[in-house]
């Protein structure tokens, strides 16, 4: 039997597995971008401290470093692999595609991680224990190593949207997959915004400075850093939009929530206003205000940005060949990868899925709802929650008065053919179309409770029929013996 590389499905009913990934990823972006930006800032400040023989700058580096160590390094270093964990369970083939193409790049990044982790401890704990020149050298190495981690990961992130060069599909090769227009513009944009985050989070440390003159100096330094990086980042974002595929722009125009554009503009404007205010009147910079601003950046700035990036990739989740529902939807001759669509068209999803229970491999009247739910979980649940809550719930897309016949027409005419631009093509046998439609209609009208009750009834009837059959064959055997 031909099977395709599909794993069991994990379904988180309250928020949806996609959002679990997004929560962890967004938090990680704040922590990691701040860390890299701060690492470069430390290099600059340590250099200045060495040249001008200043203790206060080193003290600031120590305090900001300790703050980073506890909040961003702890959380950042755990949520980094945490993204692997969450994508492993929500999108195993998506992360698998990235890992198998870029394993050595990740391993290379790991070398820099080790340098970073050792470096941050040294920067914090060796202030006053080594001479300033040595501290400066450690800071410069730490800063460049941190930057290297970002350079490496951005290439992988941009591959998620689009392999660097079109030639990758035909010829394969790590370099073709890694480097492209999308990579470099995204890299520049992220570098700009990471300085914005560094300036905002650094405000929490500046707020704690007792000496008014030094506080003013640092507020100005961070203020200028923040203003310049925010303006450059906003300009680069416009350029970035020109480097993504047309399909992504189409999705962005049609699918992104209405609050996306205004919230991004509001956050940018608010951020600039914040920096100007803290530069003019450093005394307003207190820890709660700076901390609140970091939360604003996280919630109103990063969250929509990460959501947008995730949405714009649709229907793909990685490299424009792995669909968001984990099916491989395109040939990649350069990597010897074959589309799984032809097999699914021939055999159906139930036979091709390795984890389909034996009694669901063929749809019949006794398993229709359970088979339909299984198909929905495999094909739909990565982007549409079958429950009432969560990510884009399925029931919201179905009219109230729908009939099964109408639903079947829609599923067959639109979903199995891939007629929606941002949704994968989902091949199904006719019997599977009927099962999915029956499930969708029942889920719409009765919700999860009705679905579960129907499945339990199907199982009960099946067990009953099986028990009767067993009894009959036992009687037949007894009679034969007699």
């Amino acid at each position: 039997m031909d099977l395709i590389s599909l794993y069991p499905t994990w379904y988180e009913p309250t928020v949806g597995s996609g959002w679990v990934v997004a929560f962890i990823a967004t938090f990680h972006v704040l922590a990691s971008h701040t860390s890299v930006g701060a690492a470069l800032l430390f290099a600059y400040l340590s250099h200045k401290a060495y040249r001008e023989d200043r203790e206060d700058l080193l003290d600031f580096v120590k305090k900001y470093g300790l703050f980073l160590l506890v909040f961003t390094y702890v959380a950042g270093s755990i949520t980094g692999p945490g993204i692997w964990y969450s994508t492993t369970v929500a999108s195993p083939n998506g992360i698998g595609a990235l890992i198998h193409s870029f394993v050595w790049k990740w391993a290379t990044e790991w070398v820099f991680f080790v340098i970073e982790v050792v470096g941050v401890y040294m920067i914090v704990y060796l202030v006053g224990k080594v001479d300033k020149r040595t501290h400066m050298k450690i800071s410069v190495i730490f800063g460049v190593a941190s930057l290297a981690t970002m350079l490496i990961i951005v290439g992988i992130l941009s591959f998620m949207m689009l392999p660097g060069k079109e030639a990758w599909f035909q010829d394969g090769g790590y370099l073709n997959g890694f480097y492209g227009t999308n990579t470099f513009i995204q890299m520049a944009m992220r570098m700009a915004f990471m300085f914005t985050m560094t300036a905002v989070v650094g405000g929490i440390v500046v707020a704690g400075i007792k000496d008014p003159a030094f506080k003013k100096e640092m507020a100005r330094k961070l203020g200028w850093l923040g203003i310049i990086s925010t303006i450059i980042g906003a300009a680069l974002f416009q350029l970035y939009l020109k480097a993504v595929p047309d399909q992504a722009l189409l999705v962005m125009e049609n699918r992104l929530p209405s609050y996306f554009q205004p919230s991004i503009i509001a956050v940018l404007a608010g951020t600039l206003a914040y920096f100007i205010l803290t530069m003019i009147r450093p005394q307003v910079l207190v820890q709660a205000f700076a901390g609140g601003m970091a939360v604003v950046i996280l919630v109103a700035g990063l969250w929509p940005e990460e959501t947008a990036r995730e949405s714009m990739r649709k229907p793909w989740v990685a490299g424009q060949y792995v669909y968001s529902n984990q099916v491989i939807g395109r040939d990649v001759p350069g990597m010897g990868i074959k589309s799984q669509i032809p097999l699914l068209e021939k055999e159906g999803i139930l036979k091709a899925h390795p984890f389909t229970p034996d009694n669901l491999r063929t749809v019949n009247d006794g398993n229709k709802i359970q088979a339909g739910k299984f198909i929905a979980m495999v094909y739909c649940s990565n982007c549409h929650s079958p429950s009432k809550t969560g990510i884009r719930p399925l029931h919201r897309y179905i009219p109230d008065n729908i009939t099964e016949a109408r639903m079947e027409k829609y599923v067959k005419g639109v979903l199995t053919t891939g007629n929606i631009a941002y949704m994968p093509k989902m091949p199904m046998l006719d019997s599977e179309v009927k099962a999915l439609s029956a499930f969708l209609v029942m889920n719409k009208k009765g919700g999860e409770k009705a679905v579960d009750a129907a499945i339990q009834q199907e199982i009960k009837d099946r067990n009953h029929a099986y028990a009767e059959k067993q009894a009959e064959s036992k009687v037949a055997m007894t009679q034969e013996v007699k």
Binding site: L3, I78, T79, W84, V103, W110, V114, M122, K165, F355
Partner: protein, 416 residues
Amino acid sequence: MDASQVTQITDLMYALRNPAGLPTYPIIFVGLSVLTFALHILFVQLMLGTSVITLVGAFSQNAYWRRLGSAMLEVAKVSVSVAIVVGVAPLLFVQVVYDPHWYTSNVLSADWVIGFIVLLILGYWAMYYYYFVNGANKDKTATPKARWSMLTSLALMLVVGFIMHSLTSQILHPELWKSWYLQKNGMLDYSGDKLHEWNLWRYAFFISLSIPVAGGMLVTYRRFKSVREDADMAYLNWAAEVGKKWIKVGSVISTLLYVGWMMTLPETARNFATSFWGIAGGVAVIFYAIWAQIRLNGEARFCSYMALPMALVIGLVVAISREMLRYDILNGFFHYDFWDYKIVFDWYSTGLFFLTFAIVGGVVLSYFLTIAWKAGQTVGVYTPSAFVNRLGTLSIWIVVLWVLQFFVVGFYIWAR
């Protein structure tokens, strides 16, 4: 299990392989996975062992224990970071070669996989909380505050370890994956809210190794601090004696737990317990006690520095045994051969990693660790020698050149 069932399971595992293949030979990934796992677990054990010493110190009235607890908290803090960052590597490599197994195991326990992240962050923060509450107090013999937070930290770390242990154990039971997905009542379980498999002997064995490893740390601690001008030799000698005892007693406990693990292996592991690697793991552990008895007599100045590398070597033997067990089950019983993984060679990225590892990692970490080592042994401000300074300058050039090559190659490919 009959032959046709085994074939079905083997087909399932092969079907789940990632079609992108590997950029080089699978044995390289397995080798790196074993090596980095040994390093990772050493720091995990160091973190757990020194956390226990911190707690013993926190609850003891003995001034030496108090001081030792406070000193070992510093080691525990750094060890968590290092354990996490080093743990990224085996986590990466296991996804490469054992992707069918790792991904299935994780998806079937997804809630725990996500919980792992949250619990680890909380455990780490709890340790820092304890540190911040007590760190500023110059009197290291005073009764520490917020001892609950250190207890919480250790408890959370043990839970985190158990989750990881369970996920790894689930890999070894492909014959049960489908039954875990399909519940007894016939419903499919999409929730991922259960841990399905564990072996308490195996878990206890890996955790118990924290005792001898922490013992090795104490012996090293005495040796490292003994060269400082302000060294309190009575206290340091006492710490080293505790360390020697922990190595010996801990190794015996660990060996017994190892035997327990070997005796409770699943049927699919057949004769592994009596195989060479099955025996080698246990022998390696008890060897640590014997080594300590012979080599750590008296001051043992050189051997004290060997205590942790020796623990690493022993951990490496155990890590190889662990890998052989996995191979024995997945290949020996289920005929899933990781050697025949499709290979799509990529020489550039393979070469770049090894060069980065050797040159960037080698030079920069040599510089960093030299500075950290010397600064730790110096009272007051440490000023490096001209040679060490040159090593620092070289390190800067190496990382800058690495970034430059990244852009030069990148722009060339982009413009091509």
